[in-house]
Point group: C2
């Protein structure tokens, strides 16, 4: 439990915290300051700080522009961090239409698509293909879960990139995948792609 | 090149061929009989045999009803063969909206979804989850490609199923994946699923 401070001091600290990390939710900030979520909302309004969803969108906007292998809009979820050739982070909240009807569990396809598009985003080349993906689903994902995916280029050999993607819901890892991607040159985009062999 | 036969004889053989294997395309049948595709179409009309797409749908209808772990409608593509607990085949034709804009290559996510849903279809249990998937994309897939996926249960240990899925376009293998699935009992559908650990 945090020590209570004056409203002015709390608002000063709140602004500082959000500048440091724009992705804190109102819930997390309320916990941090030991006040209600409603108080945080009022503070934000007085300070003219948009809600977390809006803040994420603003940061993501810039990152989408950096992506080279695919369109920014093709990245599944919000791309909140991207260092081309190195690492990236995306946040994705699956919706009702993405679950298997019987189990109410989000289809692997959608979790996979977050990982796949994030892995592609990292590659510093005009185009890239997925060659191999070794993936593990550790816990079922449900609607309401906020998937935070972190991807990292682990190794690069010639035009082959080894990328690890780990997805967490809160502190729990729900998915991890190792991808091998093949970076392609500009002229690939001009020629017929069915002559390209991806897997070894 | 086939030996030319009388029209009556050809139509008799045509009906026989299609009965044997309802999935021959008009192209393949034309090659088989050494006549034009137009001739095959006219023959079919005279014999009241629907086109291959329709024939596939009819067969698939029955197979969807056999699927237990997910809804038949959740199987991606047409399920043209299913032996619960053993093997299955599906056909899927990706559409324009499924490609990456820059490369015009079908997103892995969609090929993956065909494989994932087919693997799930094989399991003879009220529900199932994907635990592990090791997949390889061998050639890029484009719109117009007809993906034929064959899946087989290779091994079963307790409630774990090892399923291989191979996807071909014509004679070329474009994808292969090894899935480990966990079959779940009826009571899973009643309790909270976030307590279930999937990976080993």
């Amino acid at each position: 439990m945090a020590v209570r401070v004056s409203k002015a001091e709390r608002q000063r600290l709140l602004r500082e915290k959000i500048n440091e990390n724009p992705f804190y939710t109102d819930d997390e900030l309320a916990d941090m300051f030991g006040v209600s979520v409603q108080t945080i909302r009022l503070d934000r309004m007085e300070l003219g700080i948009p809600e977390v969803r809006e803040r994420i969108k603003n940061v993501a906007e810039e990152n989408y522009r950096k992506v080279k292998t695919i369109l920014g809009a093709e990245v599944v979820g919000e791309l909140i961090d991207l260092e081309l050739g190195k690492r990236g982070i995306s946040i994705f909240e699956p919706t009702e239409d993405m679950v298997f009807v019987k189990t109410k569990i989000v289809k692997g396809q959608y979790i996979y698509s977050q990982a796949e598009s994030l892995a592609l985003s990292l590659i510093d080349a005009p185009a890239a293909l997925i060659g191999v993906a070794n993936i593990k689903y550790k816990y079922p994902v449900k609607v309401g879960d906020r998937l935070v995916a972190k991807a990292e280029v682990i190794r690069q050999r010639g035009n082959k990139y080894f990328v690890w993607v780990k997805i967490k819901v809160k502190e729990k890892e729900v998915f991890r995948g190792k991808f091998i991607l093949v970076a392609l040159e500009e002229d690939f985009l001009k020629k017929r792609s069915d002559t390209v062999e991806v897997g070894n």
